[in-house]
Amino acid sequence: MMNKLFIFAGLILFTVHFPACSDEFFELTNPPEFPWLTVSEFERAAVSPYNYSFFSGWGGEFFMTDRVFRECMTDVVYRIPGASANFPIDVIYNRQTDIDDGRNQGSFSAGYKAIGLINTALDFYEQYDGDPFPDASGDDKVHNVDRIAGELHFMRAFAYLHHCYRHAPPPGTPGFSKEKILPYRVSFTDAEAATNARFVSTDTIYDQIERDLQAALELLPEKYVEGLHHPSYAYGRADKNTARALLSRVYFQTGQWELAKEQIDALIASGAYSLDQDPIEAFNRSDVSRGNEVIWQSINYDEAHGQTVVPKDATLFTFLDYRAINGGLGEYFRRSTWHTYSMSNAVAKQLGWMDEAGNVTPAALRDKRYTQLFYRLEGNRGIVDDDPKVYEQQYTQVKEPRIWGNKYFRGPDGMHTNVPVIRLAELYLTRSIIRYTEGDLSGAADDLNVVRTRAWDESVAGATYASSDQFVTTESITAEMIHLERMRELAFEGDRLTYLQALVLPIPAGERTNTGEVPFPYNGMYWTIPQKELDFKLEN
């Protein structure tokens, strides 16, 4: 009997322990791996925030969607009645900022995804006191590891700045330092922190933006150097001048104009950019090149990326279809079918590009920006066979002439045209208004003239700009001149709203009939935080 019991027990042990279990059994063949094991792999952390910022086709990024939103809330645009698109066109135009719109939700989410990834990478960088790859070469550490950290700081600033543009009261407004309005995340998060965002007032975010851009200035190189930097850094990425340019925007926005001017001065002094090309040259690149004035551009030329990443929201406020080729005009004529916002005729008249009767003016015809970056269509005449390149045929209800923005999809391969993010002309105009405000009328006029000279078409005007009566002098310059020049230069680039806010100027209604101008402090001019975020908001 005992023998049987022993045998029984032995069999039980055999079944239970054959084969024996060990910790090795649970080891995965491919366990989760840290994403950046080498400096080269760390480069993938650097590029991801750009991808979040610029790519994803219809919405889902924040750069182009924000541009459309911001521009179309201003007086610059006019919403074509009856035009429709699967886009919150009226919500934007009517400034119904309390609407929790899906496009804004997408931008909000994309921005914070970029920030989350950046925080992870910067935590990694800082965890090792800036030396996360001790075995890397000294050159690699300086030119790539530190440079990547600089880009990460830069892109975090860029993402937060867009969040402020979109969702926060602008600097100087009463709510700027009071309303705890934006989630503030500067470190990679664990589960608890992920659920409980700390909301802060906008001034705290702006302080962070400034710190990040200062850090970027420290870490970023002057420019890409072949052989030193990772080859992908050559195109569309931030360098020291890009950081200067963005920092100047921030200083300008926050009223720190002297600091803004310092950054612009340094950038211009670097000599890396110039206004020596026609305006179109900044907007017609669907390859690795850039226009001479382009300080930073989002690169869309990568055809293998397909059309899913190109910024299609631009079709809402630009003339060309995103599939246009060779500039989309003439024999390649291809108009956007989603086109909903033209330039306001009131603004066109302000700019001197349309007379009171609606006719094109000589001033327009001699302005290269007008002739190269805008497109005028005469009103629909009710004639079916009218030339659609000349007369409005898409919207038969549009009887008056309209000027359309034409700054996107202009490259040989339309959809893969790079998009300028910051151009030199903007900085000249910023410095011009700063100088003007400071009483440096000569400097202001000089800056303004640099921009106007580039735009001047001598062959049409029949005289040089300097010899024309349009040349600005210390005596003739006014603030309004600078404001209008900025619209001519930067219309449909999402600049107008923040510019007016920086100058504490009212935002005109444009051609809107259901609302008036919106003065400082711009109540209702920033968009509600997505409800999905507010669902998690703790009182703090």
Binding site: L11, T15, T29, S48, W58, D98, Q105, T195, D535
Partner: protein
């Protein structure tokens, strides 16, 4: 059964018997159900052990005293008694036993007499399964077993079915049960093939239902805790057929039929062209716009050349897109199987071919399946066996997904039935001679004919699946009752899918996605079973052992565009969009098994089981867990005091159990933060940078098992010699440490996180009855009814403190789960009709500030318009309306009369609500881009005073009447606590719109319907030819039958396509088929 056979053999060995005043009689014993002979049936003289057994043909010869009473017995059949008279020949027909309490039921790692079962187990037989023509046996299980809820996701052949046992016992996305086929845990999830707008294929469709002998569904902890960490959602044990000693048979089954659309488009009610134009014109006129110009939509298309159309031309076109892309489907199923055996071995071999052409044109599903089940006894105490199954399916798919915006380059990705419901307008032409392809705007996704043209579209998935189990069982000779068994199993799936479209359907040029997935699951166990009876009244059964399981998946993806050549394959494209190859979904699991049952005097049962599991899905410190269970049973009908009831109630058993099980149905590596570095997330050329980093999972190091504490009490009973039988059980499942991928705020930068979120309770009743209503052997009439009903109710007991403190819940789509409430209550606005004066949709306002503070949704009593803003701010938790059915079941009637048999089977589900988004999208003019329903012609608001279901038709959802949440309310009574102090109508008075009512994403209860339905699942009429007739031509059995499935559907409220598949999915088809069963 073994004992029975032993007795039979013993009788056979005795050879001949001698009786006084003997008479030699002969006869034949057959089954009443299928008319098959019953070899081995025993014919004994009542009151003695003398007799004989029937041979392989069911024939017997016996010398017996005249006037004696003989008892004919066979396993699973009711005994038949007859008196020997002056006849020499007796043809005996045995009926199947209504309840065979000695029947062995397959349980985890063993078998047990049904009488001794104290766990909650339901069974589905082979006969019940094969009655329903289907590509997947899981679909055929619907309504057959108490506690088992099955829904089919689509009417497309091979579509996935969702199986829930005893309702949702988890907030986890996957509540799928564990499937064990012949001891092998198999993969039942989806996601293996690349699916771009088409319906994914259920891997269970690779299993031939004709091979299945029986299915046992283990439901309570007593039954499932032996599976430990995998048992929370129930366990389904599938046993395939085996050969029998001395009985060689060849079965040939063929069935064929047609598949009609489950519901016709006319029953939904879509407008024709002129009706559509009239509604759109009305909307535009109401918005101050001229009549509709077709170019308003055509301009969104992307084709080159873009075909234009005048209004006059459009009015002349009326395309019924459903007719263009749908057809009457068909299927044929051929199944050949052979089985037989000797004392030392037996076999079962089968081959199956199924060819189903679905309702969508060009869509077909083909399956080839072969099986070999072999058992050998090379030694007296040793049995070796194998279960080998190899299947191959070829699934040619068409797109089903509804597209987004009109013309958004959807030609290759979304088309078919989904777009016929919404995007393809009746005035869109099919053909355009000016287009190189001959089609009208084929890139749009709205030309459904172009999208399924073989020259431009190809979407195929081929799946190879090998299921193999090898086992050895050794009867330990020197310890009676002890056997050791070991099983090694493999589940191998090779899934190859190719999606290809030509440049005609896609703006960026031709495109292909090629995915090959190799998924392997290996399971190995060693366990012992010890069964002994001591002193005649102490019975014990012990099980002990260990098991390990590992699975992994290897993916190879290739995506490219601008392909070279004309082959429908990836080839060598000009642009490689993405390439990936790698290992994923690794999992390693180890478990120790222990179970014991003690029975005293054949009436008192107590049991326990213990499983200790470890799994690589959790961190080292949280990897191991123990899952115990305890059970009891009391067979009252064996007690002496029950003797007076025994004539009426012949069986009564009380049973109960308590135990723990686990759930770990989460992806691997969720306890650590993980990242991806995908090529598509790059910035810069692929040649310069290989990808961009993204956070794919935010890790939770403390992640651990979700634990279910199950309580189960029940009573099993039998009346009138078990002619009426059944059981009633109450169950409760308290789930703790709920595993859930809960949402995070968007600012987290990660969309969700896995965590052990909270607790919930799931409880209900299961009732099942069966009765033999008529059993008249002289007339050959037998009527049997079975009925099962499950009542299910659940409640979330706790979420995380953060969620509970803020009153937040866990949301999923339009539903939310909150503490104190049922799972997945609808969380949408409450519709309050159309304002008769203004013609806009109205909803109930909630106290928004109160909601922000507490998370409670309390109505203010005011009705406000359903503007986009109001729809996002005024959602209400509908506590009485969930998406989860609260009852379901089935009613099955079988009538047998002589050779005829008739089966009528109903299944039903109810207590839940369905949101009809298709109605929402097609009852608003919006931008004139969607199909519209006829109901708008009469039910749209037109003038003040109208009381209609739908608001005034306007263009672009822009209404003159808006709502400003900050505007002072002139009707406010001055009460500072009244939340209605602000918020009021806006209206400029000049007709300019001030309100945006675009409700594509907003949801309100207008479209919420009770989901209750009853479906006449199958009606089958069969006729079995007299055996004497067919045996003349060498056939043992010949049965012909016709089957009608899904013939009738009743819904309480829902008027969409199908309450089961829901939304714009292809409804489950009606099938009309005939078949033939041949046995040789």
């Amino acid at each position: 059964m073994k004992l029975h056979l032993f007795q039979s053999l013993l009788l056979l060995c005795l050879g001949t018997f001698v009786f006084a005043q003997e008479k030699i009689i002969s006869g034949n014993v057959r089954s009443a159900g299928d008319g098959e002979p019953l070899p081995g049936a025993t014919i004994t003289l009542q009151g003695s052990t003398e007799g004989t057994i029937a041979d392989v043909n069911g024939d017997f010869t016996l010398t017996v005293p005249e006037g004696s009473t003989l008892v004919v017995s066979f396993v699973g059949m009711e005994d038949h008694r007859f008196t020997v008279d002056d006849r020499m020949q007796y043809n005996i027909v045995l009926n199947a036993q209504v309840e065979e309490l000695d029947e062995l039921v397959v349980i985890g790692y063993g078998t047990r007499k049904k009488k001794d079962m104290v766990g909650s187990v339901s069974s589905v037989t082979s006969e019940e399964l094969t009655r329903m023509p289907s590509t997947s046996f899981t679909e055929a299980m619907q309504g057959k077993a108490a506690g088992v809820q099955i829904t089919t996701s689509s009417g497309v052949p091979g579509a996935r079915t969702n199986v829930l046992i005893r309702g949702s016992s988890s907030i986890n996305l996957s509540t799928a049960p564990l499937w064990i086929v012949d001891g092998m845990p198999i993969y039942s999830g989806g996601g293996l093939e690349k699916t771009i707008g088409s319906t994914s294929q259920d891997p269970m469709s690779l299993i031939n239902m004709n091979d299945i002998e029986s299915i046992q569904i283990l439901k309570d902890a007593e039954a499932t805790s032996i599976y430990g960490s995998r048992g929370s959602n129930g366990v389904v044990l599938v046993t395939t057929k085996s050969g029998q000693a001395g009985k060689s048979t060849l079965n040939v089954n063929y069935s064929s039929g047609i598949l009609r659309l489950g519901k016709e488009p006319e029953e939904i009610g879509f407008t024709n062209t002129l009706e559509w134009l009239s509604l759109v014109d009305q909307g535009r006129a109401n918005s101050g716009l001229p009549p509709f110009d077709p170019f308003d939509i055509i301009k969104f298309f992307r084709d080159d050349p873009l075909a234009t159309l005048t209004r006059e031309q459009a009015e002349q076109i009326d395309v019924n897109w459903f007719d263009q892309i749908l057809r009457t489907g068909s299927y044929q199923d051929v199944n050949v199987s052979g089985s037989g055996g000797t004392e030392k071995s037996n076999y079962f071999l089968s081959f199956n071919f199924n060819d189903t052409k679905g309702n969508p044109l060009k869509n077909f599903f083909r399956r080839y399946s072969a099986r070999a089940n072999l058992n050998f006894n090379p030694l007296n105490n040793l049995t070796l066996g194998t279960r080998l199954n190899f299947s191959y399916t070829n699934n040619n798919r068409v797109q089903q997904q509804v597209g987004g915006a009109t013309g958004n380059n959807q030609g290759g990705a979304s088309a078919g039935f989904g777009n016929a419901n919404r995007i393809a307008l009746t005035w869109f032409p099919i053909y355009n001679s000016a287009h190189p392809s001959g089609y009208w705007n084929p890139m749009s996704g709205a030309n459904l004919v172009a999208s399924i043209d073989d020259d431009h579209h190809f979407d195929e998935v081929e799946v190879y699946r090998g299921l193999g189990t090898f086992f050895a069982e050794y009867q330990v000779p020197f310890i009676a009752g002890l056997n050791i068994r070991s099983e090694a199993s493999i589940d191998f799936i090779q899934n190859n899918s190719v999606f290809w479209v030509s440049e005609t359907l896609r703006e960026d040029g031709s495109y292909a996605f090629d995915r090959a997935v190799t998924r392997t699951g290996i399971n190995f166990n060693v366990y012992g079973n010890y069964n002994r009876i001591f002193a005649g009244e102490h019975s014990i059964a012990l099980t002990f052992g260990s098991e390990w399981f590992m699975q992994q998946q290897y993916n190879r993806d290739k995506e490219g565009q601008n392909l070279t050549g004309t082959y429908k394959q990836f080839g060598q494209p000009a642009d490689i969009l993405s390439v990936y190859a790698g290992l994923s979904n690794e999992e390693y699991m180890w478990g120790y098994i222990g179970r014991g049952q003690y029975k005293f005097r054949d009436r008192y049962l107590v049991g326990f089981s213990l499983r200790r599991d470890a799994d690589s899905k959790f961190g080292e410190d949280y990897r191991w867990e123990t899952f115990p269970a305890f059970s009891f049973g009391w067979i009252l009908s064996e007690e002496n005091f029950f003797a007076s009831f025994i004539q009426v109630m012949n069986f009564l058993k009380l049973r109960g159990s308590f135990g723990e099980t686990g759930n770990k149905n989460i992806p691997a590596n969720r306890f650590v933060t993980t990242f991806s570095n995908d090529l598509e997330d790059r910035y810069g050329e692929a040649g310069l940078i290989s990808g961009g980093t993204r956070i794919s999972n935010l890790g939770t190091p403390t992640l651990t098992w979700e634990t279910t504490n199950s309580y189960d009490v029940g009573v099993d009973f039998g009346f009138l010699e078990n002619r009426i039988g059944g059981s009633i059980a109450f169950y409760r499942q308290d789930v703790t440490d709920l595993l859930l991928r809960s949402e995070l705020p968007p600012s987290a930068g990660v969309s969700g996180i896995w965590n052990n979120v909270g607790d919930m309770r799931n409880q209900g009743w299961e009732i099942s009855f069966s009765s033999v209503n008529i059993n008249n052997t002289s007339l050959g009439l037998r009527w049997k009814t079975t009925f099962n009903l499950t009542l299910s109710k659940n409640e979330v007991l706790a979420l995380t403190p953060r969620y509970d403190q803020e009153g937040l819940g866990v949301s999923k789509g339009r539903t939310i789960s909150k503490t104190g409430k049922a799972l997945w209550n609808y969380y949408i606005c409450e519709w309050a009709g159309v304002d008769p004066a203004k013609g806009v949709d109205m909803i109930h306002e909630i106290d928004y500030e109160h909601w922000e503070e507490t998370g409670e949704t309390v109505k203010t009593g005011r009705l406000i318009p359903a503007t986009q803003t109001n729809l996002s701010r005024n959602r209400i938790v509908f506590e009485d309306k969930t998406s989860q059915p609260t009852f379901f079941g089935g009613l099955d009637n079988t009538l047998e009369f002589r050779g005829f048999d008739l089966n009528i089977f109903f299944s039903f589900t109810g207590g839940h609500y369905l949101y009809d988004y298709e109605e929402q999208r097609t009852t608003s003019v919006q931008y004139g881009q969607v199909v519209l329903r006829k109901e708008l012609l009469t039910e749209a608001w037109e003038a003040p005073g109208d009381r209609k279901r739908y608001p005034r038709l306007v263009w672009d959802s822009q209404y003159q009447w808006g709502w400003d949440i900050d505007k002072a309310n002139p009707e406010w009574d001055g009460d500072p606590d009244d939340p209605r102090a602000t918020g009021y109508w806006t209206n400029t008075g000049d007709g300019e719109p001030t309100g945006v009512y675009n409700n594509e994403s907003g949801s309100y209860s207008k479209y919420l319907y009770r989901g209750d339905y009853i479906r006449l699942r199958t009606v089958q009429l069969g006729y079995t030819f007299p055996s004497g007739l067919v045996q003349r031509v060498g056939i043992n059995k010949l049965r012909l039958y016709i089957t009608l499935s899904n013939l009738w559907l009743w819904t309480l409220e829902y008027e969409g396509w199908d309450p089961e598949s829901g939304g714009g999915q292809l409804p489950i088809p009606r099938t009309y088929s005939f078949g033939i069963n041949l046995t040789f």
